[in-house]
């Protein structure tokens, strides 16, 4: 196979167009083609119907892509993994699972976005078009067997996300976040391309298989060019997966983007970038793993520690989830660092669990953000369980899953990457990861406790206009509702407030309506998280079978 790859097509004067196996590239084709069709269709219907058409169109398109990826899975099982279309793409278990994951994430995001777009009164169909094309970019990254395809996937994914971040015209924060994301993202893409150029200079190819073959057959006496190329590639990937020290954009962009977009970005961009990172590092640069493993080790440690510690300080739930996603990136890097097949499947499983946890969490944040999508202070979650018990329960489950609680996919995900790190010989990394999991558990539990222990927000906030700690103490002794006020004090300790809690308007409804489709999306996410947490074997086996082609 590799020998036939290396036989460069000798020019005979006639153009021989490579054979295209359409099944291998069908999911991204459906996403892009569907997006264009949707754009045309939505412009034909009347304005109020556009969001609905967009939602159901997107559900249909991503459902089809999901179905086709199942077909691909059986094909890979029957005929084995191969490269297709002049060796530019690869269809193996790994790429198919990533395609499935991204299709599912797109489907759930469409359900969440429906409620959001209707609530905000933002015009609809382009949102879905951009999201679909963005998802196709992530799919390309997962199936790429050429650095050029990886780069194109990265750009398709990112440029659509820049626009989606700025989608809501009425929020100033949205535009600011988009500009930050665009400038930093463009910069990191340029670094990534330079990495590709240097890698090409060192190995003579951009094709991942040919690079692997070159490195297997040749010993580079002076490998400065190659190492520089690989490290620049790592910078580009590090930016996309939001690993420290390339995480600076994450909190601002996650906070500023519309909440459904944040969930989509957190899930899909991470899935695509990690897929490409795993394939590039393990398939192509597996021979020089002793060179890149220390870098990944450092990035993992920094992401784990800074992500969990900085999340403790956040009062905005979206910022807190942003830092927690940095912490998650650190965990997934554990699997990358182990540089072995078990690490690949552990990372894949973690991505799978993380996708549903994070989209579900941001769906709930979308609902609780009220109209305007700016209401994400921690104080808003106080006493949520009393007002909306089902929503609070769903959020608590998703947060506990992110913390790695038993009976959720979060536990199995964390266990697998830690075991992979140990089997890869990086015991210190595994220990650090477990310590940060405990730290992260604190801020997830803080929100959960606030939702359940906190009083009703209108009553709790009424007697404390000044907000300094002293009045609380006085009230807790003097008030006839002593028990209730004590709870308030506990809440404020949990929130680490020294400042006044945000004033609550009387006109705000205390029970927020959950749109039906958003409810379905949240139900799906919680369902996947719990069902596969209680009954883990099918998904774990699935991830184990999703091996990389040309691993080694």
């Amino acid at each position: 196979m590799i020998a036939s790859l290396l036989a460069t097509p000798v020019n005979t004067g006639k153009l021989v167009v490579p054979h295209i196996r359409y099944l291998s590239i069908l999911p991204p084709m459906i996403m892009i083609g569907g997006a264009v069709l949707l754009l045309a269709l939505a412009s034909l219907v009347s304005r109020p119907l556009r969001v609905r058409v967009g939602t159901w169109g997107t559900v249909l398109i991503s459902g089809t892509a999901l179905g086709i990826s199942l077909w691909q899975w059986t094909d890979v099982g029957d005929h084995g993994a191969h490269t297709y279309v002049a060796h530019a793409v690869v269809m193996d278990g790994f790429s198919v699972l990533i395609t499935m994951l991204i299709s599912a994430a797109m489907l759930v995001t469409a359900l969440v976005a429906d409620g959001y777009l209707n609530r905000e009164g933002v015009e609809g169909s382009e949102f879905y078009v951009l999201a679909l094309v963005s998802a196709s970019g992530a799919m390309l990254m997962g199936m790429a067997n050429d650095l050029i395809i990886v780069f194109l996937g990265l750009e398709i994914l990112s440029i659509a996300l820049y626009v989606l971040t700025a989608y809501n015209h009425r929020r100033g924060a949205s535009g600011e976040a988009a500009l930050k994301y665009f400038l930093l993202g463009g910069f990191s893409s340029a670094i990534f391309v330079y990495g590709i150029a240097l890698t090409y200079g060192a190995t003579g190819s951009t094709n991942l298989t040919q690079i692997a073959d070159f490195l297997a057959k040749n010993v580079l006496l002076t490998d400065g060019l190659l190492l520089a190329g690989v490290s620049l590639l790592l910078v580009g990937f590090g930016f996309k997966v939001a690993a420290v020290p390339f995480h600076m954009w994450t909190p601002d962009v996650y906070q500023g983007a519309p909440s459904p977009v944040t969930g989509f970005m957190a899930a899909v961009a991470k899935a695509g970038a990690f897929a490409a990172l795993l394939r590039v590092l393990l398939s192509s640069f597996g021979v020089i793993s002793s060179d890149w493993r220390p870098i990944i080790f450092g990035m993992a440690v920094l992401s784990l520690v800074l992500g969990s510690v900085l999340a403790l300080r956040q009062r905005d739930v979206k910022r807190m989830l942003a830092y927690s996603s940095i912490n998650h990136a650190g965990f997934i890097l554990l699997g990358v660092e182990s540089a072995r097949a078990s690490g690949v499947s552990a990372s894949l499983y973690y991505l799978f669990a993380y996708t549903f946890m994070t989209i579900g969490s941001f769906a709930i944040v979308t609902v609780l953000g009220r109209e305007g999508d700016g209401d994400h202070d921690l104080t808003r979650y106080r006493g949520l369980a009393r007002r909306q018990p089902v929503l609070a329960l769903a959020f608590a489950v998703l947060l506990l899953a992110q913390a790695g609680a038993p009976f959720t996919t979060g536990l199995w995900a964390k266990l697998q990457v830690v075991f992979a790190a140990i089997s890869g010989g990086s015991v210190p990394l595994a220990v650090i990861a477990m310590v940060t999991a405990v730290i992260a558990g604190y801020f997830y539990l803080r929100v959960a406790v606030l939702m359940y222990a906190g009083g009703d927000d209108a009553r709790a906030d009424a007697p404390q206009p000044a907000g300094s700690p002293e009045p609380h103490a006085m009230i807790s002794f003097a008030s006839p509702e002593g028990a209730h006020a004590n709870v308030t004090t506990i809440n404020d300790e949990l929130l680490m407030t020294g400042e006044a809690p945000a004033p609550f308007g009387e006109d705000l409804p205390s029970v927020l309506p959950v749109p039906a489709l958003t409810g379905v999306a949240i139900g799906l996410c919680v369902g996947v998280t719990v069902v596969f947490g209680v009954w883990p074997s099918p998904l774990v086996d699935f991830a184990h079978q999703a091996s990389l082609l040309f691993l080694g």
Partner: protein, 209 residues
Amino acid sequence: MLHTTLLLASTRPALPDILVFAASAAVILVGAVGVVTSRNPVHAALSLVMTLFGVAVLFIEQEADFLAAVQIIVYAGAIVVLFLFVIMFLGVDRSEDVEVEPLGGQRPLAYILLGITLAGILAMAATSHWVTGAHQVVGPIQGHITASSSSPSGEVAQLGKQLFTTYLFAFEATAALLVIAVVGAVVLARRPPVPQDSESERAEGKLSS
């Protein structure tokens, strides 16, 4: 001829090559510094043209005539003209106040980092050979060279063939980028629809009344 030039370039460059390289590198650097330092945005854009022109000369020196032409037409021509349009629209006379530091201490920090980076690059340049060796650099390109010397059509045909064979899928995938560019530009340029609607309704109301 192409073959020998490339080999020469990878083993020991001839004196004219060095001279051309040095001259165009100087042009590129002067232009690049000009982009960052000139206060007038139009001068900065023109300095960018200078840099791009220098890069085009480097392409010619590497016998990549097509790339040089594209570099001049697309970058120095179209893109910089677009830049100038935008600058003119935004107003040339409005100068940015660059004296106020948004982040305290970033300037000294930048100098320190610059020093470290320079020292690192110099140390690397002093201790290692960056070129991986003539065989490896020329090896994969050699197939293309023999191909181009056998067919008289030259490198434009080469590029076209590569696009429709090896890089077919990448070439097709760029279509998605164009879709995003069009849709994204429309989304970002569109005004919020609500005030427009109310305005048009008001206008209609006036007309009907």
